[in-house]
C-alpha cells in the first residue's frame, strides 16, 4: 500500500497478474508488513473493530431485507424479525448489541491512541481519518437507533435534530430540512434508513484510508520510539500479529456473545419497547450509553446554543489534538505527570457518562434538606457535569500544551529492541 513492498511474484501467472492488477501484492503488503515487536493487547482493538464493522454490515444488510421504514410498520417489522424470521431473534440483537460493542472497542482504541501518543507526527492524518470514522459512527449509530421507532427512538431523534435549531438565523430551516416536515415523521424515518444504510460503507472506505495511512509510517508502539532497525525492532504482521489479534478477537466475541444471548436488553432502554407516540414524552430521555458523555456536556451549559457548541466542540478538539500536544515524547509511559492527568481524563469521561445517565437536578450526594421546600440539597449532577466538562476542555487546551513544555520526561530506552530485552532481563 505504501512504497515499501516485499512481495515477489513467483509463478508465471502471479507475474502476469502483478503487472496488470497488483491485487495480490496489495494483500501481501497489507499483512507481510514490519510491525514493532512490543505491541501489547491494547493494540488488538483495531483488528477487533474491523471484525465488528464487518459483522454490523452483514447483519445490517440482512435486517434491511425484513425491516419496513414506515412509521406505521417499522415497530411491528422489528418484532416480526424477532418473532418470525428464521434466526431473527439472533440477528437483530447481534446488530443492536454490536453497535454498543463497536463503540466500546473504538473508545478503548482512542484512549490507547491518546495514551501512547499515536496521533503525533508522522501519524496526524492517520488520527484525523480515525476521528472522521468516529464521527460517522456516531451519526450512523444515532440514525440506527431511530429505526425501531420506539419511544426513545422518536424522542431521541426529536431532541438531537432540535440541536440544530440552536444555530442562529438558519436553525429552523435546517431542522425542518432534516425532518422533511414540521416534526420527526415518516420522511425523517425514510431518510434515516437510507443514510443508515449508506454511512457504514463510507466508514468502510475511510477504514481503508486509515489502514493505508497506517502503512506509510507504520505502527506506533508502547515506547513511542520510532523503529530504527527493521531487523531487530520489528516482526512481520503476519503471522505474529494476525494470531495475536485473532486471539483477542475471539475473547472479545465472548463478551459480545454474553450480551447477545444472555442480556440483549441490558444496553438498551425499556421505553424503546413502547411504540413511538408523538404526543407523549417519556419521563426521561436518555440516549444510548456511548453518547452519554456528550449529552452531559450539552445539558451542563444553561444556554441552548452554548450547550450545542460545547458538545460539538468536544469532538472538534479531538481533530486538532496532534497540534495541541506540545510534548516531544510520544508515550505517556515516560511522562509521569501526563500519565496522571490522562488517568483523570479517562475518569472524567466516565463521570460525564454517569452525569448523562442521570437527571441534572438529581443529587450525587445529599447534604441536607431545604427547610422551605423539603427538597434534598447537596451536590447535583449538573455541577458535577460542569466540573468534568471544564476538565475535559482543560485537558486538551491547557494541560497538554503546557505540560509538553514544562514536564521532565523519564529516561527512555535507546530502541524498541532494547526495551524488549530490558524487560526480559528484569
Amino acid at each position: 500500500m505504501s512504497g515499501y513492498s516485499s512481495y515477489e511474484p513467483k509463478s508465471g501467472f502471479e507475474k502476469w497478474l502483478d503487472s496488470r492488477l497488483p491485487i495480490v501484492r496489495l494483500g501481501y503488503d497489507t499483512f507481510i508488513f514490519p510491525t514493532p515487536r512490543n505491541l501489547n493487547y491494547w493494540w488488538t482493538f483495531g483488528g477487533i473493530l474491523a471484525v465488528m464493522l464487518m459483522s454490523q454490515i452483514i447483519t445490517g444488510v440482512i435486517l434491511a431485507m425484513h425491516y419496513v421504514p414506515h412509521v406505521d410498520m417499522a415497530y411491528d417489522s422489528i418484532q416480526h424479525i424477532n418473532r418470525d424470521v428464521n434466526f431473527g431473534w439472533l440477528l437483530q440483537p447481534m446488530h443492536a448489541v454490536g453497535a454498543s460493542m463497536m463503540f466500546l472497542a473504538v473508545y478503548i482504541h482512542m484512549f490507547r491512541g491518546i495514551y501512547y501518543g499515536s496521533y503525533k507526527a508522522p501519524r496526524e492524518v492517520l488520527w484525523i481519518v480515525g476521528m472522521a470514522i468516529y464521527l460517522l459512527m456516531m451519526a450512523t449509530g444515532f440514525m440506527g437507533y431511530v429505526l425501531p421507532w420506539g419511544q426513545m427512538s422518536f424522542w431521541g431523534a426529536t431532541v438531537i435534530t432540535n440541536l440544530f435549531s440552536a444555530i442562529p438565523f438558519v436553525g429552523d430551516a435546517i431542522t425542518s430540512w432534516l425532518w422533511g416536515g414540521f416534526a420527526v415523521g415518516d420522511p425523517t424515518l425514510n431518510r434515516f434508513f437510507s443514510l443508515h444504510f449508506l454511512l457504514p460503507f463510507l466508514i468502510l472506505g475511510l477504514v481503508i484510508l486509515h489502514v493505508w495511512a497506517l502503512h506509510v509510517p507504520g505502527n506506533n508502539n508502547p515506547t513511542g520510539i520510532s523503529v530504527k532497525d527493521v531487523e531487530k525492532d520489528t516482526l512481520s504482521f503476519h503471522p505474529y500479529y494476525t494470531v495475536k489479534d485473532a486471539f483477542a478477537i475471539v475473547v472479545f466475541l465472548m463478551v459480545f456473545a454474553a450480551f447477545v444471548f444472555f442480556m440483549p436488553d441490558a444496553l438498551g432502554h425499556p421505553d424503546n419497547f413502547i411504540r413511538a407516540n408523538p404526543l407523549v414524552t417519556p419521563a426521561e430521555i436518555v440516549p444510548e450509553w456511548y453518547y452519554l458523555p456528550f449529552y452531559a456536556m450539552l445539558r451542563a451549559i444553561p444556554d441552548k446554543l452554548g450547550g450545542v457548541i460545547t458538545m460539538f466542540g468536544a469532538i472538534a478538539l479531538l481533530f486538532v489534538l496532534p497540534w495541541l500536544d506540545t510534548s516531544k515524547v510520544r508515550s505517556m509511559r515516560y511522562r509521569p505527570l501526563a500519565k496522571l492527568f490522562f488517568l483523570i481524563f479517562v475518569l472524567a469521561c466516565i463521570g460525564l457518562g454517569w452525569c448523562g445517565a442521570n437527571s441534572p437536578m438529581a443529587m450525587v450526594f445529599v447534604t441536607g434538606t431545604d427547610a422551605a421546600t423539603g427538597e434534598p440539597t447537596g451536590f447535583s449532577f449538573l455541577w458535577l457535569a460542569r466540573i468534568l466538562t471544564l476538565y475535559y476542555y482543560a485537558f486538551f487546551l491547557l494541560i497538554l500544551p503546557i505540560l509538553g513544555l514544562v514536564e521532565k520526561p523519564k529516561p527512555r530506552p535507546q530502541s524498541i529492541e532494547q526495551s524488549v530485552l530490558g524487560k526480559g532481563e528484569a
Binding site: 440482512i62 431485507m65 416480526h80 418473532r83 418470525d84 424470521v85 428464521n86 440477528l91
Partner: protein, 183 residues
Amino acid sequence: MSSSASTSAQEPTRRDFIYIMTGAVGAVGAGLYAWPLIDQMNPAADTKALSTIEVDMAGVEEGQQIIVKWQGKPVFIRHRTKKEIDEARAVDAASLRDPQTDDQRLVPDMNGNLQPQYLVMIGICTHLGCVPIGDGAGDYDGWFCPCHGSQYDSSGRIRKGPAPKNLPLPPYKYLSNTLIKIG
C-alpha cells in the same frame, strides 16, 4: 515442554497440530455462523403458518368456479356439471400431450371414493405462468389462457396451444364430504 535438543525435530509437528486444530475449529465456526445468514431468507414463521388453508366447497353451486389464494397462487375449485364430467371421461387419455385420465386428476375423499364434481387445480398456465380464463372457455369447455392461446379441457388437461403440461394439482385432502385442506 522439554527443551532437549532432540525434541526440536518433533516440535514442528506438534506446532502444526495446534495450527491445524485452530484452523479446523475456526472453519467449523464460520460454517455454523453462515447458516443463520442463509436461513433467514427462507419463509418466516408467519408465512409458513399460511402454507395450508381449509376450504368448504359446499357453497360452490354446480357449474360455478371459485378462486382461492393458496401460498400466493390462485387455486381453481370448480363444481363441474354432468356434461363436463362425461366429456372429460370420454377422452382417450393416451392421445393427449400430457396423458392423464380424469380420475387421475382427482383425489379420493375420506371413504376412498372420488367426487368427480369437484375439480381442484392450481390456476397457472404451464406455458409462461398466466392465469387462464374459466367457466367453460375455449374449444373444450374448460379453460383458455389469454396470453398465448393455450386451451385446457373440462379436466384441466392441455389440448391445444403452446403449454406443455396439464394444469397442476395442489396437494390437498378431504376432511369431510365438502371440506378440503390444501397444502
